[in-house]
């Protein structure tokens, strides 16, 4: 079981984001401990992605603070997030379709030779190494990623997040575009990463995946936090009630 003693790996305190008068995220507080998977649930437009993009540096929050290992940090762009070993797998995958797998994996962090030029051969070698671990069937190292299948593209996006020693991983619906076999692959990977002590925020719509993969679940509705529950202590009915009705689960299940 996850031990929740000491400072959390990440704490997002009282976060608010508004877009043109609409409060997309309204005073939400969530946290994440090492080796833990916290599910972020809610309807489309509940504010999950917006909240998490404050952590990955894609959006700037209007108020609130982010603490990592108990210390307040400023994350104003994706580069800041990467500096704190926060890696993100976006729902859109955020791949440059015209570049090959290695170029995408190292985008923004290219390996360079002593002359300062990009070392493509070295990057391809590293890509082959990590792909052998993540997706041994992956062969298309020379093709632009637009020539890859949905699952292959997903494994490039995952490889990019995993390669750089992430401590905090954000996965935005990582299995939405995948078949059953590939979904299983992602589930196994999540278990592996947990065992390495990586903290994972998982945005997920499939309630079965949530029950299977997550330790805790934070439910959002209309930009507000409905509540956070220990998945082991509630039923999927309880969580659905939180998502759909914004209703707290029965007292015995509350945290």
């Amino acid at each position: 079981m996850v031990s929740r003693t000491g400072a959390p790996l990440v704490e997002m305190r009282d976060i608010s984001v508004s877009f043109g008068g609409i409060k997309a995220v309204d005073h939400v507080t969530v946290d994440l401990y090492p080796g833990e998977v916290v599910g972020l649930l809610g309807h489309n437009g509940a504010g999950k992605s917006t909240l998490i993009k404050c952590l990955s540096g894609a959006y700037r929050m209007d108020s609130g603070e982010i603490l990592i290992d108990g210390e307040k940090v400023e994350i104003t762009n994706p580069r800041d997030a990467r500096r704190y070993n926060i890696e993100t797998i976006y729902q859109t995958l955020a791949l440059a379709d015209n570049l090959d797998a290695a170029s995408n994996l190292f985008l923004g962090r290219e390996l360079v030779s002593p002359t300062g030029l990009v070392d493509d051969a070295q990057m391809e070698a590293e890509t082959r190494k990590i792909m052998a671990r993540l997706n041994p069937n992956f062969r298309k190292f020379q093709d632009p990623v637009k020539a890859l299948s949905g699952g292959q593209r997903q494994s490039v996006a995952i490889a990019r997040a995993v390669y750089f020693n992430a401590r905090i991983l954000i996965m935005d619906e990582p299995t939405a575009a995948l078949g059953p076999q590939e979904t299983q692959m992602v589930a196994e990977l999540i278990e592996q990463l947990k065992a390495q002590g990586i903290g994972i925020f998982l945005i997920e719509h499939d309630i079965h995946n949530v029950m299977k993969l997550c330790d805790r679940a934070s439910v959002m509705k209309n930009g507000q936090l409905v509540g956070t529950v220990n998945v082991a202590e509630v039923t999927d009915e309880d969580i659905l009630g939180m998502i759909i009705l914004g209703k707290q689960p029965r007292p015995h299940g509350a945290q």
Binding site: R79, R82, A96, L99, L117, V118
Partner: protein
């Protein structure tokens, strides 16, 4: 399974190209270029493919080709620059004023060796700063590049006019003029030395790439394929040198040169022109731009941003600053092109570079640069410029009426893009 129906010979040929890892698009363009040359050669009774005409064709292409390499980066990042012809004029005006008015008024007389370098530096600074400024408006103020550069087209054309009061400024500095084309060439021996060195560099690059792949235990091409590549590169480079060397300096020009040195020309003395300095400059630009595109972070970010701007941003790439850099680079290349263009004319004229923006964009697009962004090559753009110039010169030699010349060029531009779209559909390349 359309390919299964292809004839055996066709499939075999495709396999050879595949083994050589040739870019089929490049082959298509080279094929189109050769076709254009052959057709005009027939129509002109063999006057098109003479050393003299090929020499002229190359020096006429240089200015547009230099700018086209920069336009590739601009278009790859999903922008456009309509101001390049006008920017060329402003840079040319600045260089002309510097060498004929500003420096002489500081006491540097005509013929002083520092005049040319200083003038060029002023031009490069002008181009770089104006380009960066336009890029800043596009990147940081989010005004569409089409609008910014459309404004720039008017502004810089007329800044050049204002600076020179619309007057032709010349003659330009003698050293400066050697960069224009026929006024400055390497000569026969120098050209051969250059050709051999270039061949060795090409061979070293091929060998180096192979070694890197073997070191990482990646699959490599068969040795014979590498051999064919080496032979082809040597043939292309040395053949080009041979043609330019075969264009002989007219004897009256030689006689005058001897007389200027107080000597008399020996009977039967001949000399070839060899590679013009302006073509060397284009080659240098092409090499540097290709290295930037393929082997530097800047190039990687340019192509990533063109492929998916959002992904580039999320990968921590500062896409706004990137836009500034791309436009600044375009500006510097406009200055280089302006230098070559004015040096070739031997003066700055008020209409220099007019309509060049269209030629440059057409060259990049004919060369396979996709306006949707993310795709384009430097060699393609240069080949595109060469095809455009061949069409124009060829039609002029055949005696096609001026309006028809432009009509044909316009039709060819649209046709080239149509073929490219059909090609990409077939190969499934978006």
């Amino acid at each position: 399974m359309a390919e299964a129906n292809a004839s055996g010979a066709g499939a075999g040929r495709r396999n050879i190209f595949k083994t050589l890892e040739f870019d089929t698009r490049l082959l298509g363009m080279v094929g189109a270029f050769i076709l254009v040359c052959i057709v005009f050669n027939v129509l002109t009774d063999g006057r098109f493919l003479t050393p003299r005409n090929i020499f002229n064709l190359t020096i006429q292409t240089v200015s547009v080709a230099i700018m086209a390499t920069g336009m590739v980066f601009v278009i790859v990042t999903r922008n456009i620059d309509l101001s390049v012809g006008s920017l060329l004029a402003t840079c040319s005006a600045m260089m002309a004023i510097t060498q004929t008015q500003a420096l002489p008024s500081l006491g540097l007389d005509y013929g002083n060796p520092v005049i040319a370098p200083v003038a060029i530096l002023v031009g490069l600074l002008t181009g770089g700063l104006i380009g960066a400024f336009q890029g800043w408006i596009v990147g940081y103020l989010s005004v569409p590049a089409f609008i910014v550069s459309l404004g720039g087209l008017l502004v810089w054309r007329n800044v050049a006019w204002y600076l020179t009061s619309g007057q032709t400024i010349g003659p330009l500095d003698d050293t400066f003029q050697t960069l224009g084309g026929i006024g400055g060439t390497l000569g026969v021996t120098g050209s051969w030395i250059f050709g051999v060195l270039a061949t060795l560099v090409a061979w070293a690059a091929i060998a180096q790439a192979r070694k890197a792949r073997i070191n990482h235990e990646f699959p490599v091409k068969p040795l014979w394929a590498e051999g064919v590549l080496m032979a082809l590169s040597a043939a292309a480079i040395l053949g080009f040198v041979a043609i330019l060397n075969a264009y002989e300096v007219p004897s009256r020009v030689l006689r005058r040169a001897f007389e200027a040195r107080g000597e008399t020309m020996p009977e039967g003395f001949t000399a070839g022109y060899g590679i013009p300095f302006s073509v060397l400059l284009l080659i240098a630009v092409a090499v540097v731009m290709t290295v930037i595109a393929r082997r530097t972070r800047l190039g990687r970010y340019i192509f990533a941003t063109g492929g998916n701007p959002e992904a580039a941003e999320l990968s921590g790439i500062n896409t706004r600053l990137l836009t500034v850099k791309v436009f600044a680079l375009m500006g510097v290349l406009c200055a280089l092109a302006g230098m070559v263009a004015s040096a070739r004319l031997s003066f700055h004229s008020n209409d220099i570079g007019t309509l060049d923006e269209l030629r440059v964009i057409a060259a990049a697009v004919i060369g396979g640069t996709a306006l949707a962004g993310g795709i384009g090559t430097i060699y393609g753009a240069i080949l595109g410029a060469l095809i455009m110039q061949s069409l124009q010169s060829g039609m002029a030699m055949v005696g096609v009426d001026a309006p028809f010349q432009n009509i044909v060029v316009g039709v060819v531009l649209v046709l080239a893009v149509l073929i490219d779209i059909l090609y990409r559909k077939r190969t499934g390349d978006r």
